[in-house]
Amino acid sequence: MKKLSLSAKIYLAIVFIVLYAPIFYLIMYSFNSGGTMNTFDSFTLEHYQAVFEDTRLLVILINTVVVALLSALVSTIIGVFGAIGIVSVKKARLRNTLLSLNNVLIVSPDVIIGASFLILFTMIGIKLGFASVLIAHIAFSVPIVVLMVLPKLLEMNTSLIDAAQDLGASKRDILTRVILPYIKPGIFAGFFLALTYSLDDFAVTFFVTGNGFSTLSVEIYSMARAGISLTVNAISGLVFLVTIIVVVGYYFVTSKTKRKVGDRA
């Protein structure tokens, strides 16, 4: 593999600096004794202390993470099979119709999705709370998964499947041994973007939540009028730190075990 040139490295460094700048800005202010993100007074850890004393906020944080993980998981499963199904449709018109329907939720503003889901849920009689929020998040995350998996499916070589078939592979085998491994990058991309959708969403969650269930986004947006407390910055800082540690740690643990397995083989 060719090494990256210096200019390429600088380019990547700039991209990463810009991506992380607002986050470091937020974290910096989480140490501000001033109480707002306006002016930095002096260093304090009181907001971090407040995070651990505020069980309500902790519960909300955990709810947010659980909803994000589960909704991303389920929507990935539905989306992957949906994408496989769409590609298998031979009629171009039907396929385009399906794809257009797929994207309706991406183009619809959140208020519309939220309001229509609320009406839908109260009509069916789903109790507003964890379940309704989870279902709603699954619903609006499916299209992004489909769009991430689709290009991988399209570039897949037909001969691969033909070969497997000729070798006597069952339909199940073709799916689990040929198709899924090939589109795996698309699946992970879809899952991670579904996480993003779920963690970012405010409007839809607001409408379909209830009975005391809340997520971090709803909490933060409703604080805007009277001022967002720095406890939220502190909690975001902690979440950010934990995520980085988990991701980097997980990456190196798995790549090490892989290498070991490779050595033995």
């Binding site: 902790l58 519960v59 955990i62 009406i119 109260t122 109790k127 507003l128 209830g210 009028r225 001022g227």
Partner: protein, 357 residues
């Protein structure tokens, strides 16, 4: 494939563990409906210590949910699905909720602390005899400005906003009623005007303000004014109080032609399953001590006369946030304009927004 299955199992395990943690953290589990009071309010709009004190005093467990706009809250209550016992909407929405039969009448005999409130804030047109709502906080609409940069202008008149020296210096709140109302007030018309000629005049007048407008923004106006991003802003007194406490150089004025007097009132929505507890809560919040503590925490103007006696005299005697009788007489409460005129106001505002580009 193995990796996919592993990832799935890992996610399920983590979610399960986290859910179990919330069960441990959440002490509310297992309580019956009678003991729960669900409050629907703006975020950071109550001192959380008061909620704890209320729980301790009555044994009722409080669930606190938040909303960010009146209209979104209204949609939620209309659809039902959650048993909100207390909500804190603004006055124009209360009028609508009353008309749409979404509120439960308040039994005044259960609220002895009602006597603490200043009668000036009671029995107003949006809710005669306070049958459905009790004042929580109130305020005005005015101009926040930085005296160091406005060359002696005191914003005694709305006209001062039009000063050609203030090119791209003015922030406006992103709210049709406030901006159009300001336009009408500047022409000495009522901010509830339904006269098409007056509205057309107000639009023409507002369009001439366009060069002075820097941006039309929402709640972030507080952060921006505190940081001196602009020197003049049209906003609500509540946010003005936040700004002034953060940046002492700022000042607030309500122009003399008149302005809006607004309220956030406590109501009991039709969704309530604990009407008794809701009354207890309202009475608790109206006590002198709770009123003072809450006003101190939130920083908005309280209608609670008894609470004022317990508060810092410097705050209470600040005529910018507790205006005297004379100035109060120039203030007007919003009336529900009805759908047609709400539409007209908003279209007007939209055209004005397009004009500032």
């Amino acid at each position: 494939m193995k990796q996919l299955i592993q990832a799935t199992i890992a996610i399920l395990l983590i979610s399960g563990a986290l859910l179990y943690t919330t069960k441990l953290l959440n002490v509310s589990g297992g309580k019956t409906g009678k003991d729960i009071l669900t409050i629907y309010n703006w975020g950071e709009y109550i001192d959380p210590d008061l909620l704890k004190a209320f729980e301790k005093e009555t044994g009722i467990h409080v669930i606190y949910e938040t909303f960010d706009t009146n209209e979104a809250m209204l949609t939620k209550i209309e659809q039902g699905g959650t048993a909100y016992d207390i909500a804190v909407p603004s006055e124009y929405i209360i009028e609508k909720m009353r008309e749409d039969d979404l509120l439960i009448p308040i039994d005044h005999s259960k609220i002895p602390n009602l006597k603490n409130l200043d009668p000036y804030f009671l029995n107003l047109p949006f809710d005669p005899h306070n049958k459905y709502s009790i004042p929580y906080f109130w305020g005005t609409v005015g101009v926040v400005f930085n005296p160091e940069f406005v060359d002696g202008t005191d914003f005694d008149s709305w006209q001062d906003l039009w000063n050609p020296d203030f090119k791209r210096q003015v922030f406006l709140v992103d709210s049709a009623r406030e901006v159009v109302g300001m336009g009408l007030n500047s022409l000495d018309y009522s901010l509830n005007s339904k006269d098409d000629h007056q509205l057309a005049e107000a639009e023409a007048k507002l369009t001439t303000l366009a060069p002075n407008v820097k941006a039309i923004i929402g709640d972030e106006i507080t952060q921006l004014m505190v940081n001196n991003e602009a020197h003049i802003a049209l906003t609500w007194s509540g946010q003005a109080a936040d700004m002034l406490s953060e940046n002492e150089a700022l000042d607030y004025a309500v122009p003399q032609e008149g302005s809006n007097l607004w309220f956030d009132n406590i109501v009991i929505p039709k969704t309530s399953k604990n009407v008794e507890g809701a009354h207890q809560f309202i009475n608790f919040m109206l006590s002198a001590e709770a009123g003072a503590q809450n006003a101190d925490y939130v920083g908005y103007s309280t209608p609670n006369d008894a609470a004022l006696a317990l508060m810092d005299p410097e705050v209470v005697n600040d005529e910018r946030f507790y205006p005297d009788e004379e100035q109060r007489d120039t203030l007007e409460v919003y009336k529900n304009l009805g759908p047609t005129y709400i539409g007209i106001y908003n279209e007007l505002f939209l055209r004005f927004k397009m004009a500032i580009r």
